[in-house]
Amino acid sequence: MRAVVEQSEFRLVIPSQTRYLNLVTGLAKRAALVSGLDDPTAAKVSIAVDEAVTNVIMHAYGGADDKSVELEIRFTGLALEIHIWHTGHGIRQDQVHLPDPKEYVKHPRKGGLGLLLMSRFMDEVRFEDNADRSECCMIKKLA
């Protein structure tokens, strides 16, 4: 039986440093479990969050460790929503090109897999690049 989680949200702001990845992925996994997702699915949610936050640190901020990454986890009753905000170089939805896994297997190369994992492990992944800050929103449905 799935636990009923009231609609709620909480925020966490971390420095743009990879040493905090385990903290946010652990939190994401716990949040997914609390929302009623099973353990394998919660693990996938945590991996998607690792990839999204890593992208912010390494690409949006170019590895700069003096910035911040803001995460908001929302329990909507129907889904678990994870919003990640930053003030670095954002990407727009139309700039997202997912590699084809079949082509990737034929022509192995380093890199380019993070977005693919995010899209495979979450039900929805959206990007917004705004003037003041950019956002990655990932949704996992509970049903």
Partner: protein, 117 residues
């Protein structure tokens, strides 16, 4: 946070690399160094025993991808065994189980390197 320890041992011609903990963007350099050290010793039969690996992100997959061509060009291979469910899910989702031989346990994996007995 982000801890990773890596044990490397020799089982005959096979170098067994056993990461314990997490491989993500924070720890991947340590993982890359361990693999590169093995290759620098001209040991190209590499088995990743993942029994204590609780998590690998695309950064870790990239480290493996970065060496596979070098290793195979020299007649070797990178194979995997003892993958936990979530680690297997990552490899399988990306089609990597077609690229790498995955074994349930280490003895079968070692035998695979040695060929049929």
């Amino acid at each position: 946070m982000g801890d990773l320890s890596i044990l490397v041992r020799e089982e005959g011609p096979v170098s067994v690399v056993e990461p314990k903990g997490f491989i993500n963007a924070h720890t991947v350099r340590q993982f890359e160094c361990a693999l590169e050290e093995v290759v620098q010793k001209e040991r190209y039969a590499i088995l990743l025993n993942c029994r204590h690996l609780s998590y690998i992100s695309s950064a870790g997959l990239g480290a493996i991808m970065g060496l596979i061509e070098t290793v195979r060009d020299r007649g070797g291979d990178i194979q995997l065994c003892n993958l936990q469910e979530n680690v297997y899910a990552i490899f399988d989702t990306l089609g990597f189980t077609q690229l790498y031989k995955v074994h349930p346990e280490e003895p079968e994996a070692l035998q695979s390197f040695l060929g049929p007995s």
